[in-house]
Amino acid sequence: MDHINFEVKKGEVFGFLGPNGAGKTTTIRMLTGISIPTEGTATIMGCDIQSESVEAKEQMGIVPDVSNVYNELSAWDNLIFTGKLYDMPKAYREKRAEELLRMFGLFERCKEKVQGFSRGMKRRICIAMALMNRSHILFLDEPTSGLDVQSVLVIRDLIRKLNQQGLTVFLTTHNIEEASQMCDHVAIINHGKIAVIDTPERLKRTVENLQSVEVAFETASPNMLEELKEFPTVSDAVKEGDKFRLITKDPTSVLTSIWNYAQKNNLKLITVNTLGPSLEDVFVKLTGIKLATEEERNNRMKTQEAPRRIAKQ
């Protein structure tokens, strides 16, 4: 990390967005006391993370990028053990564990060992463990990474509800849509430095010239992309699946060009949409890096896990 400086306001969802290796997890590890920084300070609710680490840690809950639950213990025992780490009295920790397990839809299976649970369920247990001590700030490191769509929606909904109840959320994510939807402020980090901090909408306004038109034809010829790039006012065009995305300052003129092009070539239009600049455009502009899609990340994870599976056999 290279001299980063930022403030998270009480009650907000603060997003930390950056490519792999940018320093997102390192920042969380330093803020939560797992790593010790070589210089600099950090305060959590007014408590210095190094000189008042116990007080600072009492304020926070942490959900790391890997669901670090105790697989040999049940969901119930995982929560109870967390309560013991916070020295919560027995009756209080049992009441809180039951409350959280019911809230997260896990109470019915709370006596089962966690090792048989799905990734999504383990993630929910992880979040429940982070909330055992009624923390004021919740650190979430890529909370939805590698999860199925249903689990992602459940977890995002939970985060929203918790934030509405007053919990401050510090969220790192590679998912720009997630950051755009959920965060009050976003910091874009690259090579250990913060490139920009602002609200998602204000960040999008910085790249207003990056409006685009998305179009899909029933059939596409191999040289279609090059032809679309030749349209007036189109600065660039990319093929995204079965669609073409044309970057322009003047979407109206591009719509006319598309209509004429379709008529001239006897093409049937499937969809045409005008799109405003996205947080991804801001991200690409600032970092020069296009983030991997969820599918690409999942494929990468599967490839990385493969040797382990072979070793176990």
Binding site: T26, E58, Q59, K84, L85, M88, M129
Partner: protein, 253 residues
């Protein structure tokens, strides 16, 4: 925020105990714990004693010392790398408790494991081989101080940043195995050359063997007072160095 109205030290001790209990439940029956903590010292002892005409009074203290040495020092190097690999060790670092209490909890788990396993040869010796314990105080001191010192030794080595028990066990065994040869395990201290007697005084295992022998009625070469003093010093030194090394690791990250 948690409803905490208790003293700082009371809280630290309760958390340390909770960590120890969790480790007992979770890791005592893991294959590396059984292999390095039980199988290793017992098979080493059998390979040394079978077919040799060694009096029983000599054999039982050796087995007690070896099990205390290997079992106590094995839990930390098994538990901590495994917890690093699945990031559960980070849970302790992010909880409102000092690093000393975390490592004390881990040390306690090693003490209980080592002492628990080492009770077996004592009971077997008394029940089946007419082995005698003539000084119970020396035996208690041997168990308490040795398991503490060796468990802290294991925790200190577990600061080596590995994610599998083998990554810690290998360097630990580079220390543990040579100690067997200079600590009066295979050859009584009195029969060693003078220079080796001097070297053996610096091995913590020497003082475990001596105390175990003293408890069963044999003569002690260095004497129980020196044994207790040196074991206590090693326990404190290993605990202190373990904490320092773990902090260094946190800084390196």
């Amino acid at each position: 925020m948690s409803n905490v109205h208790s003293s700082h030290y009371g809280r630290e001790i309760r958390v340390a105990w909770a960590i120890a209990v969790k480790d007992m439940r979770t890791y005592y029956t893991k294959p590396p714990s059984l292999m390095f903590g039980i199988l290793f010292p017992f098979s080493l002892f059998l390979s040394f004693s079978i077919g040799r005409n060694i009096p029983l009074a000599t054999q039982i203290p050796i087995l007690i010392s070896q099990t205390l040495f290997f079992a106590s020092s094995s839990i930390g190097p098994v538990v901590i790398p495994m917890e690093r690999a699945n990031q559960t060790f980070d849970r302790f670092l992010t909880s409102p408790v000092s690093l000393f209490s975390i490592l004390l909890g881990k040390t306690l788990a090693g003490i209980i494991y080592g002492a628990g396993v080492s009770v077996i040869p004592v009971l077997v010796g008394i029940a089946f081989f007419s082995s005698q314990i003539v000084n119970i105080g020396a035996l208690i001191a041997c168990f308490a101080l040795s398991s503490l010192a060796f468990s802290a030794l294991g925790i200190m080595f577990a600061s080596i940043p590995g994610q599998t028990p083998g990554q810690v066990m290998m360097p630990l065994n580079f220390v543990r195995i040579p100690l067997l040869f200079i600590s009066g395990v295979f050859t009584p201290i009195g029969e060693l050359p003078t220079w080796m007697q001097a070297v053996s005084m610096f091995s913590p295992l020497t003082h475990t063997v001596e105390l175990a022998r003293y408890a069963s009625g044999a003569d002690a070469f260095f004497g129980p007072v020196l044994n207790i003093t040196i074991l206590s010093a090693y326990a404190a030194a290993f605990l202190f160095m373990g904490i320092r090394f773990h902090i260094m690791n946190q800084r390196k990250e």
